[in-house]
Every structure is written in structure tokens, then in C-alpha cells.
Subunit: 451 residues, 3 copies
């Protein structure tokens, strides 16, 4: 005999009651914990006897330890308890692109290409006491590399990091590749060989709206690996650099401002026995061709500095950067190269806005994702991207790039990115008629999951 | 800073609170009782939680939401909430084998061998809104490769996938290597170079008992990696193929039937500048020797097609496939090769049956695993495995294989596999007396955990 | 004004009440879920549960299934239910070191160096029925390798393992690299090429205070990989060895004693076609230079054996080992090498003591970690480390090492390790004045997270 089901209102009221009870119980638990008598092991809740698991009957009263373990969904579940937490991290980026270069450029690496741009697998967590860690393996170009792999210590105002991480190079470099406005970063970031390196750094956030970042770094972990000798072998690599960046990010009314500047010095030391090149792909990564780039140079130290400006207001954002590199040559003059970009973006979907946190753009989460009946966010961005690799007798070439991107973020942690770029080159790889000034059309698409 | 311990008054107040809560719960229970809702399944426990926020002080009546987070054990725990989920994936396969070839075959790669056949580590999850992902790294032959690495979108009738995945090649290829009836798949699947490739695919399940699968694929992720140039380099690899498969799988009384057919075309394009070989190991993977195989061929496109039949009834199953490959040579005629197998299997343990799902054999779970006092399942399989790599002037050799397997599955996600194979070769690697027709005895064992 | 703290009894009673409330609430939620009106947001769980024990909990009148899933924090959360469990494993070790060798030694691999010493990512779990698994990838020297990758079966007295694991070589080798008393293990462990290998082993713990370990092993997984041929290729590698170890570890009052002995035999078989070297770095791993070491030898089998002694009492511990290797040469006499160490350690922090479990030193957890207002543990260790690679005409050199370490363990799973070593060499790599007897000063630091 079925009785009438509980009404929705009744159920909701009951749920509210239960929620209230839970909150009170939680408060009591905290009291207990503060009294130093709480159980030390976290017990957790659980689930309806999973399939295949026998479901024991109810047990009678007594002891038990209580827990404040929570599970928060961030693409993968973040399990947390007090100041301890853990989350698996993963990233999949699948790219397809078409590089349409002039007919006289006979390079089989152009045309259509596709690839898995990045695969990452790792974890991040907090051990308690302000100590955290992050550990990510990346499989890219068939090589397994470490991406962010750091141990951190965080207080209210300070964040100390040791491990493989970015050297505060530039806004566009530090913004996550799944949070950026284009499929690929500004041309200067690759051309100037930005990469994560092993080092120690400190960040200070103790003055309202200001962020100070600085560190000492050696080289990337692969370069430091000691299994190889010689000037490029990790064993003999004694390059070292210092890096600093300052950000002032006040909120003026509804407008988030970002003003930044960074400076960097690196002594290549024994690495100067090998050679350095500054070059760049035609926007997309699926092509391995570099249409502009310097020859191999014997560089013994690098100084570079950059300025950053960005602003976010409602659906709009603008960002622009300039970055200059002085490469001191062993047997020649110091070569100066430069690059920069300016971009504007707009969300077509109501209520969405570009996220900003800790001195960089953050992942945007759609206000109305498709799993709650919405469309996700749709964002349109335009960027002018400049790179100059000419200095004196070094004729690496010059790029004026005009790039548009249409990004659809149907759900948190999922993006589709459609890009078009027109790259106007001066002094690029010569066509068969000898011309070095020409334009290249690039179309690219990416689907990415990143959590 | 530590807070003072709870006072006696405070403790008394807490006790009063608990008494009050008890009364409220009793009242709520009466309400529930009156609503006549039966209770026998469990849901998840839940707790007050402000995810990622510092634990709030004692909350009053309203706040807090309740949770439906569940943890289901699938080798590793699957954490799920609504249409979001996450599970770590892993696989360990340890092999030992003995290849007993005629004395006149002096190949130090034969005889005893052992290896870790496959190691996989990854994760799979659902982001909500029908979107899911899977990401697996495999360490095999000292190279890290991607296995299934896809982003998926699923509706009631459709499953769309983009990423590295199988091209619906054949029942035996698509059935998981931990769900198959033998340690290694049918000879034609390796000989014809089946592998996962980067592509997009669609699967339609909207007509009862029918499954339609199709996709467009380029090459495997390693081959597409853009860090190398030249005809085999990822940068210049523009191979592309289309693949389709149809399955009709009605249930006739207690018998699960499977009828399938697939067709595949691949244009190797620039890859035709390098060479293609069709060859196969002596059943087990621990040996790197190929006793039969074609010479290197310059192939510019491949067309292949297969037919599949299988049936499962109680402890019995049968399966058979035929697969034919047309390899169009750049400077020669189209070569035609073929292979196939027929197998029968029987579970010695009462109640066990081979699992089948989504057009392939699925993982069998023992009815009485050892952790519930049972023996697990024991399955006996026999397979005839044929491969013909001869066509015209190409004399790659012919194999008639007779294989028996005894599989013990003591627990979900754990298998032990003992195999014996007699491989009867025609036109294989010559013995020192010049004979090319001979038989090889192979014994292999595998223990595998796969979740 | 502090009032008297709540008594242990009162606290326990409170906790019981809370557990009972939780169980009742869980039951109500299940009723709600059955009504189809369960809430959509995830909060988490907590429930009555004694970690790893069946969950006794107050349950009122009616039915309900109770789950016993628990989450225990071990750097990362270990999720467990009954005899099933899972935990992600990870390790980060970042090293910096300075090797101060005499001026006449012109080796650019000396001096300052830094690196990520080890990165590990993996998982371990139990499937039920006594079956478990462990699977770890290590990125070290730019190569991804398997570390412990085993499937295990455990009963009260037995532990059976198959997969890649240690061969019970020595106390110092088997003690985890994050549990050891120095940044690097005793010189003989590297010099004698100890490594994990693929094999099967059994351990017996059925006699009080005794542990018996034995196994049969082939080679490490990389060496066995079948993708390469030739004498060093995995395909043709048929090396095999047997290993055994016995430990007697009684507790005498407050003193934990450890007495151990091990013996090992390995037939290199076809590997004897390639060559074997016995050599060692100057203590730290960031340098790839080996100042002492034998030339390449054609070895066809190795016999080695070791003795172990250790004792722990309160903050003190001592440990000493001796290990001897007989390397039988294909075209020469059997060469005999030896090594050993003796160490003493002391915790400066009150209440801390070195952990010991299953025949090896275990991870020490600080009594007062910094997240509970303490300082963590501070330990001071001294070791004398001897290695002799001279025998007859083979003059590999001799090392007398004097090493001090200062270890700070602020939290579980986090350590900082500061080391100084003076290595007194006889017969080492010659200086430019021909001298081969000299001393080297080494300073090293490591920060490590390991869970």
C-alpha cells in the first residue's frame, strides 16, 4: 500500500531543518576540536553501499570520531579537511590548424596539422600549516616534462615557492594556457624562450592592491638533469638568473585595473658554449616551421624587462604588454629584440566577465553553464601581436600579427577556441622567388579540458 | 593562537543543544513516518561545508546544503555527485613467457622472457552536462604514450568523442586488453598496425540493438608530435582516414548475439615516403622477434574491412572475425592480406558469464569473488588464429595458431592468465637448414590489475 | 581566566551524541533521496565511523545501510572502505649542492649544481581479499621509470609480491629515500648497482620478531623492455638472480633492536656480453662525476651478502652495515669489493624518535608539527661511510666518508635536509699533478614532500 509521497514543500522544509542541524553539529565539532579532544583521524561519510558492496545493517550506538572532510567539485573532486586538501590535476588540449602560406614557400610542415597540444596529469594539495605542493607531468612533443612542480609555504602576506615554476616573466606568460584569450601566447613569449625553471621565489601581498614577486632560478629541470655531460648537459649547466615583478591592481569602481612591470637577468655561464636562438612559429603549435628567427647566437647573458597594462569591466577587457630583450653575445655586440601585443575582448553572454586573481587572468567560469540550462559563455577577442627579431646585422625578421578568437566555455573547465590569425612578415624565410615579405593566414581550433 | 578550552558551562550548553536537536529529530521522524516513505537504500552522508572557505562559525538555522556525493569502489574509488564524477585509472600487467622454437633458429630473443607488459596511470571523469574526459598515460617499451585520451559529449543516443582513441577496427581490438580471452589479441590486429589515433568520432545508439560508429582520424599522437620533421616527423604527417562500424546485438532469449561489420580507408599521404611493414610476434609480447612479416613496403593508402560474430549464453561464448587489408603500393600492385580467428570459451565456475556492453566484450566480474568466500571465476578458452601475409611476390608468411587460455579472476579488477599456443608457420624466418615451415610452442602467464 | 577543561569522558559522550545525530540525519537524508527530492549541491560527508573499522553508529528505529568509507590524511587522502582502499602517491625532492674538489681537478660537473632529484606520481590501493597494488612513475634524469610497481597478496603471516621491487638488498637501500638519515644512501648501494627489478617474492612474518624475505628477480623494467635487441636489449636479456634476507627485531624494554643478514646471487647470462662498472658519485646526485670507480668489467655473475645492525631508543638510534660483492669476471679472477657504514642519530626535539617497521626504518612523524603549534622534529645524524673498489689489478679507488646531516621535519610528509660530507679518497680520478689521494668537501640541501 503506497501512501502519498511527501510534498515538495515538506521535503524542502525537512532539508532545511537537516541543514541547520548539520551546521550546529559542525559548530559543536569545532568546539570539540579546539578543546583538543577531537579525534585525530578523519572519518568520512559515505555512500550508499556501492554496487557490489554488501550493505550492512544499522549498528547500535557508540563511539565515533567526527570529521569536517569536504568534497568540492573542480573538474575533479577536491577533498579537503581543515587546512589539508588534495586534488588530481589534468589537462587535455586537442588542436587542429591550417597554415596557409604563399605558394612559393615549399615547406611540408605547413598546411593542415593536428596534435594533442598538451596532456597533463598531476596533483596538488596542502599538507597543513600553510605548506602545499603541486606536481604535474606534461606529455608534449613525445617528451614527459615537469610543469609546475613546487613545494610552497603560504602565510597571510607571503608565498614562498621552491621547485620548477615560472619566473614572473609577463602577464601573458603567467596566465594559464587554458585561461588565455588566444590559442597561443604572444609571439615574444616563445621567441624569448620563456619556460619554467628550477628556483626559489617569494611573493608578498601585504600592501593593499600590490603584489611583489621575485626569485632566483637556474634552468629547466630537463636541462639540469645530470645524466648528460658537456656544455648543454645538466651536470655542467651552471646558468643562473634573478627575476622580479611588481603588480599594482586596484579596483576602481567596477573596473579591475592591472599595472605591472618586470625585470630579469640571466647569466648563461657555461651554457654560452652552446648556442641560443630566438624564433617563433606561425602562431599555432601544430606546425614546427619557424618563418622568422635569428641564427644560432653565442649568448652569455640576457637582460629583459616588460611592462603590462590590463583592465576588466563587466564583459570588456583590454590588455597590452611590451617586452624587450638584450642578448649579450660572446663575440659580438649586445643584440636587442622586442615584442608586445594589445588586445580587447568582449563577452557576448550576459553576466560573464574575465576573471582576475593574484596578478594574472584567471579561469573564467560561465554564469550559465549548459548543465544548468544555459549556453555557457561566448567571448570574442582581438589581438595585435608584434615581434621584432632584427638588430644590426642580425636579421631574424619582424612580425605584425592580427588575431581574432572566438571562445565558447560551455562548462567550467571546458573550452572551445576558434582562432584566425593574419601574420604579416618582413624578412621571413624566403619564398622561391626570393621575397621575404609576405603574409600568412592561419586558422586554428582547440578543445580543452583543464582542471 | 589557541583558544581556551571549553568551559563546563559551555559543555553543558552544548549538551542541552544536543537534547534539543534530538527532540527536533524525533519530530521530523514522525513527519517522515507519516509520509509513509519506505527506507532501504542508503544515500550519502553529508555535512556542513562551505567548500574552500574557512570554516564558518556556528551557523544559524538556514545555511548549508545537503550532498549526494557518493563513493563507489571500482578498483579505485569513483567519487560522484549528480552528473559529475572522477576516478583514477591504473593498470599493471606483468608477463612471463617461454617461446620454444626449433633448434635451428638462433635468435637470442626467443626462449624465456619477462616484462611489465603495460603500466597505465590516468583518470576519467564527467564534468556535468554530458561532458566527460579520459586521460591515460601508458609506459610500455620504455616510452610514455597516451592511450585513450578523449573529451566526450554524451546524450541519450549519441556519443561524440575527440582525442586519441580506437577507430572501431574490430571486436578483438576494441575489447580491452584486460577483458580479452587471450593474453594477446588476434594476430591480424598487430600485423595490420592497429593503434589509437587522434580524431573525432560519433556513435549512435538510437535504434534498439543497433550501434553505429564512425570517425575521421589522422595518426597516433606520437607520430603527430611536431618536434620532428621529415616524412615520418609529426610536423609533416598529413595522413588521414575514415572509419565506420555497425553492430547489431539483439538478445534472443538468454543468448546475447553480436553481428558486426567495419570498413576503413586511410590515405597515408606524405607517410608513403617512409615505409610500412606488416608483421607479427610469436603470440607473446615479451619476445621482440617477428617470425613472419613482409619486407618494408612503400604504401600510399590502406583499405580494410572486417566482419564479426559472437554469441554469449550462460557460461559459453563463441566469437569469430575475419579481416582483410588492401595495401596500395606506390610502385607496385595492391597487396591483399587477411586474418581472422574463431574461439569458444566456457566458465567452469557456476553463474559466471562473459560480459558484453556497447558492442564489445566487457570486463567479467566473478559472481563469488574470494573476498566474499568464493573462488572467483575460472574460464577456459580455445582460439584458432589465422594470419596470411602472402600476396603475389610478397611472401610475408602464414600462421595457423592454436591457442588455449585458462583465466582465473579471483576478484573484480584482478586476473591471472595462463596461455599455451602452438603456432604453425609457413614461410617464416628460415632455420639454419633453410626450412621456413615449422612449429613454435609458446607458454605465457600474466597477472594483471586493471581499474 | 581558564576554566577547567572538559573531561575526556564528557568529550567522549559529546562525540557519541554527535555520532548518533549524524546517523539519524543520514537516515533521514536517505528517506529524502528516495522521495526523489534530494538536494543538488555537494557538501560532504562525515559520518560515524572509526577509521578502518566497521562503523558503529547510533541508528534509530528503522533500516538503513551504513557505509564505513573513511578518509584518512596521509599527505594525500586515503579513501578506504573495509579491506578496500586507495591513495594517490607523490614525491618531490629538490636538491642543491656544492662539491668543493681540489683545484687541480678540472671537471665542470663539480662546483654548484641543483636539480629535481626525484618526482614520483602514482597510486596504491587494496582490492579486497588481501590483494593490493602499488604503481609509481618516477621522472628522474629525464627518463620516466617505474619505481615500486607490484601486485601483492597479504595474509596474516605472508606477503607475496609480483612486479618491480627491491631485492631485499640492505637496510639502507630498502629504507625509503625520504626516511633515510642522509640525502643519499651509503656509497656501496649505488656502487654495487642496487635497483628495483622485476620478480616475485615472499615475506614471512609468522614467528615473533622474525622476518624472512626471499625472491627471484630478472632485471629492471627498463632493461627488460623488448623494444631493443642486442646484448643489452630487453628482448635478449635473460639475467636472473635469487635474493634472501632475514631480520630479527626484538624489542628489549624501550629499545628496538634490528639484526639482519642478506645474501644474493645473480647470473648475468647474456648481459655478460656487455660491461659492468662499479662506481660512485661524490655523495650528492646533482653531480654526474664519479671520482672513484672501476673500469668496465665483463662480469658474468655476482654474489653479494650483507649484515645489518641497528637500535633505536628514545631520541637515539645507531645503525651499521657491511656489504661484500664478488664479481666473477668472464676473462679474469673474481673481484671482491666491499662497503659499509656506521651512523648515530639524535632528535633534538622532545618526544621524537626514529620510526621502524617491517624490517626497515620508517617515516618519522613529528610529535609536535607546526600545524599544531609545534616546531616539528629536528634530528642530527653522523655517518662514517666506507667503500673499497680495489681488488688485485682493479684499482677503482677507496672512499672514507664523514657525513653529518641536520633534518627538520616540520610536518608529516615534509622534510628539509642539510648535509655536509668530507670524502677522503685514495686512488680517485687524478688531479693535474697526478695525485689520486685527496679530500672533497660536499654541502647539500634538500626539501622533500613525499606521500
Amino acid at each position: 500500500q503506497t501512501k502519498p509521497p511527501m510534498s515538495a514543500e515538506e521535503a524542502r522544509a525537512l532539508k532545511d531543518d537537516i541543514a541547520a542541524l548539520r551546521a550546529e553539529i559542525a559548530a559543536m565539532e569545532r568546539r570539540l576540536e579546539e578543546s583538543g579532544l577531537a579525534a585525530e583521524t578523519a572519518a568520512v561519510a559515505t555512500a550508499p553501499a556501492a554496487p557490489a558492496a554488501p550493505a550492512p545493517a544499522a549498528a547500535p550506538v557508540q563511539t565515533a570520531s567526527v570529521s569536517d572532510t569536504t568534497i568540492t567539485w573542480k573538474g575533479a573532486p577536491e577533498i579537503a579537511s581543515g587546512d589539508r586538501s588534495f586534488k588530481v590535476k589534468g589537462r587535455i588540449q586537442a588542436d587542429a590548424a591550417y597554415v596557409d602560406a604563399p605558394g612559393g614557400l615549399d615547406d611540408p610542415g605547413l598546411g593542415f596539422g593536428n596534435e594533442i597540444r598538451r596532456i597533463r596529469l598531476g596533483g596538488e594539495g596542502r599538507l597543513g600549516g600553510g605548506v602545499g605542493y603541486k606536481l604535474e607531468l606534461e606529455l608534449s612533443d613525445n617528451v614527459v616534462e615537469l610543469v609546475d612542480t613546487v613545494i610552497t609555504y603560504e602565510t597571510k602576506n607571503w608565498l614562498l615557492s621552491v621547485g620548477n615554476h615560472n619566473q614572473f616573466q609577463a602577464l601573458d606568460e603567467m596566465t594559464g594556457d587554458s585561461s588565455g584569450s588566444m590559442m597561443e601566447r604572444a609571439a615574444f613569449t616563445d621567441a624569448f624562450n620563456f619556460e619554467r625553471r628550477l628556483g626559489v621565489s617569494a611573493q608578498y601581498r601585504g600592501i593593499k592592491d600590490w603584489l611583489f614577486q621575485g626569485g632566483v632560478f637556474t634552468d629547466d629541470i630537463e636541462a639540469l638533469s645530470n645524466s648528460s655531460d658537456g656544455p648543454e648537459g645538466g651536470d655542467e649547466n651552471n646558468s643562473v638568473g634573478v627575476d622580479g615583478r611588481v603588480v599594482y591592481a586596484p579596483k576602481l569602481g567596477d573596473t579591475q585595473l592591472h599595472l605591472g612591470a618586470s625585470a630579469h637577468y640571466r647569466d648563461l655561464n657555461r651554457l654560452s658554449d652552446s648556442s641560443t636562438r630566438y624564433r617563433q612559429r606561425p602562431f599555432v603549435h601544430v606546425s614546427n616551421s619557424r618563418l622568422i628567427g635569428t641564427p644560432s647566437l653565442a649568448v652569455d647573458d640576457e637582460t629583459h624587462y616588460g611592462v603590462e597594462f590590463a583592465a576588466i569591466r563587466g564583459p570588456w577587457h583590454v590588455a597590452t604588454e611590451g617586452h624587450w630583450l638584450d642578448a649579450s653575445q660572446v663575440n659580438g655586440p649586445t643584440a636587442n629584440f622586442g615584442g608586445g601585443y594589445a588586445e580587447v575582448g568582449y563577452f557576448l553572454t550576459k553576466g560573464d566577465s574575465r576573471a582576475y586573481k593574484n596578478g594574472i587572468f584567471d579561469r573564467t567560469k560561465p554564469v550559465s553553464p549548459i548543465d544548468r540550462g544555459g549556453l555557457g559563455y561566448v567571448q570574442l577577442n582581438f589581438r595585435y601581436d608584434y615581434l621584432n627579431l632584427n638588430d644590426g646585422s642580425i636579421r631574424g625578421g619582424e612580425q605584425n600579427g592580427y588575431i581574432a578568437s572566438l571562445i565558447w566555455g560551455p562548462l567550467d573547465y571546458l573550452r572551445l577556441n576558434l582562432n584566425y590569425a593574419y601574420l604579416d612578415y618582413d624578412g621571413a624565410t624566403p619564398l622561391d622567388d626570393g621575397r621575404r615579405n609576405y603574409g600568412v593566414h592561419v586558422t586554428g581550433a582547440r578543445i580543452e579540458v583543464d582542471f
